[in-house]
């Protein structure tokens, strides 16, 4: 069976990315989509941001001691992503898998820009990361994510709230303002980077069927796991 390489990155696999604010529901949707793809016989590889072991201890230590500046914060996350990309994302992509990423380089573009890093510089350092075949951007008002965050009683973390930027002494207020910055940046790049914008205020089922319908045409003629094996 012929394996058509992706027009975006030239590898036989496909790269589907989920982006959006914390609490936008993207992780739930990514997991459900992965299940569906698998049940249809495709080889699926699922990966999340920050799962690499290499620098996570450094990032944790740096955060705890307040040692990180916007530049080192950005570079350490780039190290983490590069390591994850080269080891985890690239091999399945080359082997013809459907790779589902819960967050990708766009998370860094948005977050680093909100911290004051030069956006062109951030793009350059991530230039090793190819353009995905689809980026779903889960668009949702900050108020809703804040409500989800507060009701889930998850602890709000210092950097996630952008407390290092000194926007406000109050954790919740700082979180709201920082997430607002992230949303504005996501909204801004969603056009230039060709995101598929998903209205994330709707029900889980509605959103999921929209995603499946969107990807279906891309999967026509895409080999299933079995086909890949026999293609040897």
């Amino acid at each position: 069976m012929p394996k058509t390489p992706s027009p975006n990155h030239g590898f036989p696999g496909r790269l589907f990315v989920f982006e959006g604010l914390d609490g936008s529901g993207k992780s739930t949707q990514a997991a459900l989509l992965g299940k569906w793809l698998q049940s249809n016989g495709y080889r699926v590889f699922f990966t999340e941001w920050n799962s690499s072991e290499l620098v996570s201890s450094t990032i944790r230590r740096g955060k705890k001691k307040g040692l990180l500046t916007p530049t080192t914060f950005s570079l350490l996350h780039a190290v983490d992503f590069a390591d994850r990309f080269e080891r985890k994302i690239l091999p399945p992509l080359r082997a013809g898998y459907l790779v589902v990423c819960d967050r990708y380089a766009y998370t860094a573009f948005v977050r680093d820009a909100a911290r004051g890093c030069d956006p062109a510089w951030v793009r350059t350092i991530y230039s090793f990361a190819p353009r995905p075949d689809r980026v779903f951007y889960f668009q949702v008002p900050v108020q809703i994510t804040l409500k989800r965050k507060l009701s889930s009683r998850l602890k709000m973390n210092y950097y996630e709230a952008g407390m290092d930027l000194g926007l406000s002494d109050d954790l919740v207020e700082s979180y709201e303002r920082f997430q607002g910055r992230l949303k504005r940046e996501y909204d801004r790049i969603s056009e230039t980077d060709g995101f598929r914008v998903v209205d994330a205020t709707r029900s889980v089922e509605t959103i999921q069927s929209e995603l499946r319908a969107d990807l279906k045409p891309m999967l026509v003629n895409f080999p299933t796991g079995e086909a890949l094996m026999h293609d040897g």
Partner: protein, 255 residues
């Protein structure tokens, strides 16, 4: 010149131009870099300048991870290049910038150029390396100690009794033979330093000579940064003990 970067905004940098000077000494292992940095420091302090020295891979933030990664030889080229850049950024922001702001002279034993050359030798493009380090401060002076590979080889063996795995670029698999790899790797690096000479305004200093001769030439380059004119000490008579090098006020010298 100090206080300006190579094109990328560095968030959180003080707005006012720092008064200190940033002097970089670059060169391969065995080029006499460390000796020259020590001599330069001594001389500048005698002249009354506060000196802070800095080198590569000395920050607290990630040096542990770099050592760990080197042990395992596990990291791919891009990851390693970014890790070194993070380490450099940490030193730049936490050590170099504050020292310059306080009016000290910062003496850097290697700078971004070595990191760039290493990254390019391992597969990064020149463009990538150049932009990655766009946030680095432009030094007031970059001295490049240029020595022939044969000289580097002899000094390296004289110092360590052998050749260093990394300085020979053994991780690049250029050759299984350590000596051959050393020459191939040094040639790759030289190629990169050659284009950087123009782009970054290196002052090449012939480092095939004795440390005293190298130091004299470096002093001649450094003195104008402080608005002073360096006058060479008179040559000691043959057979006498070597004189310590110092800057003599012009009037006294011509008298």
């Amino acid at each position: 010149m100090t206080g300006r970067t190579y094109g990328t905004r560095l968030p959180g940098m003080p707005k006012e131009t720092p008064s200190g000077k940033l002097i970089v000494v670059e060169g391969a292992d065995g080029s006499g870099r460390t000796t020259e940095v020590a001599l330069l420091r001594e001389w500048l302090e005698v002249e009354g300048h506060a000196v802070v020295d800095t080198g590569l891979r000395r920050s607290d933030l990630v040096s542990g991870e770099i050592d760990q990664a080197k042990q395992g030889h596990t990291l791919a080229a891009t990851t390693m290049a970014l890790l070194y850049a993070a380490d450099f950024a940490d030193q730049l922001e936490n050590k170099i910038v504050p020292a310059l702001a306080a009016g000290s002279t910062v003496l850097a034993d290697r700078y971004i150029y070595t990191l760039m050359a290493r990254a390019i030798a391992r597969g990064a493009s020149r463009e990538y390396a150049r932009k990655l380090y766009g946030f680095a401060l432009r030094p007031d002076l970059v001295v490049f100690l240029d020595a022939r590979p044969e000289i580097l080889l002899h000094r390296s063996i004289g110092k360590y009794g052998s050749l260093d795995y990394w300085e020979s670029g053994m991780d690049l698999c250029l050759s299984r033979d350590l000596f051959e790899s050393f020459f191939l790797y040094q040639a790759l690096l030289s190629q990169e330093f050659a284009w950087m000479e123009k782009e970054y305004g290196f002052h090449f200093v012939d480092a095939n000579r004795a440390p005293e001769a190298v130091h004299l030439e470096v002093q001649r380059l450094v003195a104008p940064l402080y608005g002073t004119r360096f006058v060479e000490p008179r040559r000691p008579p043959r057979g006498s003990a070597p004189r310590s090098v110092s800057r003599v006020p012009r009037r006294a010298a011509s008298a």
